[in-house]
């Protein structure tokens, strides 16, 4: 009997991942009730987003859309659309020093602090707009994203959990993302970033991303499910003033899957621009 229940719950989970369900993309649902607090996993522990009980509880409410698929930044109109500026916000002095140093280095034909090129993670937001597709799998309790760039993993929890206590959170380059539905929009709130070797841009523009970075994404499915639109609102009072806003579109990619990609120890020995005299590493 227990086995039967487990199988049934896994079936529910699998149904949430089904490509067949995504064809509807924008359901007729106009509002989704707020997700109740996550079920206690015992002794105060958060029940996993992949626990069958979590998935079964949340599967009772249909999500406004299912973004399961491969997505690629739309650069058809602008090859620089992977950047989040210009326009750029007004920088603080802590950022301005890096901005100026990068401009100076570029004028001298050099590359300033290109940590991604040195195999550090791109991190949010840049990981979303790399020139490799992002695979996304949505189940009722979470969205699992794996970038075709270094297989960077990002998880957006939809199970009603709160952000982790800052005293115990393990800071990461993609941060901790928690989503909630507002009508036909998925609003994702992300904090908990690492503030070292983490940048908001690349290629001659240097603006650091710090531990105070806070990113809110408003995600909508548009163009009959062929495009995702994500409106970014980003704050980091250590590095810029006010809100930095940027809206991106991503195209659905149905004829390509992501692959295993690693920044292997010998990669840069052969990608010699990363080790050339043009690099300003510190």
């Amino acid at each position: 009997m227990r086995a039967v229940i487990v199988v049934a719950l896994i079936g529910v989970a699998a149904a949430g991942c089904s490509p067949g369900q995504q064809s509807a993309q924008q359901s007729t649902a106009t509002a989704v009730a707020p997700v109740p607090a996550a079920i206690d996993g015992g002794e105060g522990k958060q029940l996993s987003a992949l626990a069958p009980a979590t998935i079964a509880r949340l599967a009772k409410t249909k999500a406004p859309f299912d973004l399961t698929g491969n997505w690629f930044i739309d650069v058809s109109q602008n090859p620089e659309a992977w950047r989040f500026g210009p326009p750029y916000p007004t920088l603080t002095s802590a950022s301005q020093v890096h901005w100026d140093a990068a401009k100076k280095a570029t004028a001298e034909g050099k590359v300033y602090r290109d940590d991604i090129g040195q195999c550090w993670p791109a991190g949010l937001p840049l990981i979303m707009t790399r020139y490799w597709p992002m695979a996304m799998v949505q189940i009722p309790s979470a969205i699992y994203m794996v970038s075709g760039f270094m297989n960077s993993v990002r998880i957006v929890y939809l199970d009603g959990r709160k952000h982790t206590d800052p005293d115990i959170i393990v800071r990461t380059y993609n941060g901790e993302s928690i989503g909630r539905w507002e009508g036909d929009t998925l609003v994702v709130d992300t904090v908990g970033f690492r503030g070292d070797h983490h940048w908001m841009d690349q290629g001659g523009v240097a603006i650091p991303a710090g531990e105070q970075l806070h990113i809110v994404e408003r995600i909508r499915m548009v163009s009959d499910g062929k495009q995702l639109e994500i409106e970014y609102t980003m704050t980091d009072p250590e590095h810029w003033e006010g809100e930095w806003k940027s809206t991106k579109r991503f195209n659905r990619v149905d004829d390509e899957d992501i692959q295993e990609v690693s920044c292997l120890p010998d990669l840069n020995e052969h990608i010699r621009s990363t080790t050339s005299k043009t690099q300003v590493l510190q």
Binding site: P79, V111, I271, T278
Partner: protein, 133 residues
């Protein structure tokens, strides 16, 4: 280095600038220049995130200089007709690159001409749009 560029590796003026697909900053390359490398394949690595070729190019004194050529990922090369065995060590090739600004023997790929005259390029990194096919 300058002599090398003027000798066996010819400097061309770039006529178009393709988007750079790389895990690293594109700022290292001089996209206004092209260098034509006529030499022999030393190694060809078909891998993610980048494919790369090392080519031995003789300078004006006949001494081989090892050039590193950085390419996009196999995803885009396959779409442009490449295969993992399309070149191998010892093959005579002509490769056009945008060189790094430092003058070191390294560049990012523009085109490959095989010994039989076939010319290979890359496919733009625009998945999900008609011109990525």
């Amino acid at each position: 280095m300058k002599k090398l560029l003027l000798g066996c590796a010819g400097v061309l003026l770039a006529t178009s600038v393709a988007p750079v697909l790389a895990h690293h900053s594109p700022a290292a390359f001089d996209r206004t220049k092209e260098v034509k490398l006529v030499g022999t394949v030393k190694e060809f690595r078909w891998q993610n995130p980048h494919t790369w070729i090392e080519v031995l190019v003789p300078d004006e004194k006949g001494k081989d200089v090892l050039w590193g050529v950085e390419l996009t990922s196999p995803t885009y090369l396959i779409r442009a007709g490449w295969k993992s065995n399309i070149i191998k060590p010892g093959d005579k090739v002509t490769v056009v690159v945008n060189p790094v600004r430092s003058g070191e023997p390294s560049g990012i790929f523009r085109s490959l001409t095989l010994a039989d005259g076939r010319v290979l390029t890359e496919r733009p990194a625009r998945l999900g749009t008609p011109d990525s096919k």
